[in-house]
């Protein structure tokens, strides 16, 4: 089986400061990888380099492109890379305001991605958008409302619908449940697990919440000061942590 994503030697520096250093891993189809670590550990920098939002200083991110095979995303032209991120990839931002267009309706937010891949029939786009709103548990009747009238949890679900409508194979998520209260978080986790299973999605999820990765991720990488200090099967790393930092992280979780 060909890995969907092959990352090697990925490094991003900001002048003398390190964002992330020498990160390498493979992600296979259908796998969910969690990236954990405290604030400032480089997880978001890494995610932005992986998802073509930020050019790395060195290293490669090879994606198994349809018809082309593994291709370094930074060797693609700007339009090719933009097309990839709009069709075969999804990017769910921590703040829905970065991932949604707040000045157009919920339906238009979903329809826009479909139009980017060539859909032109208004009726079909609207039907598809309604279908996706229902799938992410937003009433179809809210289709013409602006996202600004939605709650935080609804905005996050709309962002997910907007990303999944084109049937991507790989989704990047930055703290998808951050800032939501726990009952809303649970609903979102349940939804994401179901979608990953039904669509056979691969995902890279950045979070500082160990409970979230335990429920969503097959494998995790633990980051500290820009480097991956420990990686492996999720329950193995969390139940039998080897690195001093991971042990500290796991033992610092508050029990409810």
């Amino acid at each position: 089986m060909t890995p969907l994503l092959t990352v090697s030697g990925l490094t991003k520096t900001y002048g003398a400061h390190t964002g992330c250093r020498d990160v390498g891993f493979e992600l296979f189809p259908g796998e969910v990888l969690g990236i954990v670590g405290e604030s400032g550990s480089g997880k978001t920098t890494l995610l932005r380099c992986l998802s073509a939002q930020l050019a790395p200083t060195s290293g490669t991110v090879a994606y198994d492109m349809r018809g082309l095979g593994p291709t370094d995303i930074w060797s693609l032209s700007e339009p090719e890379r933009r097309m990839l991120t709009r069709t075969d990839w999804g990017i769910v931002h921590q703040s829905a305001r970065d991932g949604l267009r707040m000045e157009v309706s919920a339906g238009a937010n979903i329809g826009e991605r479909l139009m980017a891949v060539g859909s032109r029939h208004y009726g079909n786009i609207r039907t598809e958008a309604e279908g996706w709103l229902t799938r992410v548990e937003i009433e179809a009747g809210r289709i013409d409302d602006l996202p600004t009238t939605f709650s935080g949890g609804m905005q996050q679900r709309l962002q997910i619908a907007r990303n999944l409508v084109t049937g991507p194979r790989l989704v990047f998520m930055d703290e998808p449940t951050g800032g939501l209260d726990v009952s809303v978080q649970a609903r979102l986790l349940d939804l994401m697990r179901g979608l990953v299973r039904q669509m056979g999605l691969s995902a890279v999820i950045v979070t500082h919440d160990l409970a979230v990765v335990r429920l969503l991720a097959d494998r995790i990488m633990v980051m500290k000061d820009g480097r991956v200090v420990e990686a492996g099967l999720t329950d193995q790393v969390l139940d039998d942590p080897r690195h001093a930092y991971t042990q500290l992280l796991v033992s610092s979780v508050l029990q409810v």
Binding site: L215, G232, L233
Partner: protein
Amino acid sequence: MIVVENVSKSFTLHNQGGIVLPVMAGASLVVTAGQCVGLAGASGAGKSTLMRMIWGNYRTDSGHILVGGTDMACAEPRQIIALRRTTLGHVSQFLRVVPRVPALDVVAEPLLTQGIAPVEARARAAALLTRLNIPERLWSLSPTTFSGGEQQRVNIARGFVHPWPALLLDEPTASLDAANREVVLTLIEEAKARGAAILGIFHDEAARARVCDHLVDVAQFAVAA
């Protein structure tokens, strides 16, 4: 089906002065198809540690743990995930679930991840919940609100919903009443009859005597601290 060969394990506690605690050395056992082997030994002897190494959530320092031909001691995460999906089942002592997911779906989930149609998966889950005396009115509720015994039965249903060829049971009868204990023991006997290799921890001596073909005392593998 399950072969443990000369396995050792120690824990290093970096945040407590880097103490190294060797806990196990030279652990070996074999469970063949259709057999149930019980792990015996006092609390703290390493029964759960050994079982976790076989399940793969504890790492193995040296030796081999073969489950259906895959060596858990050095397998890649995706090999372990694939093995757990189809070959190796596990009933832990505690149920860990996504809040809000109905009990019926919690039980059906292992089948859904194998790509079995939701209707069939739920029907099989329902049959097991019925056998384990979980009233139908609870099926649509999240087990997070259930009593300890009910949660344990949901956990057991999840562990028996697919005919895993290898099965790990961590005190499956611990918090059950007599009637439900009987159901669980019958489920274990049925699994053995279809050829499952079962490794279990049973504190309940009568249960142990009834289902286990032989016992392995883990105290012999313990490393004196």
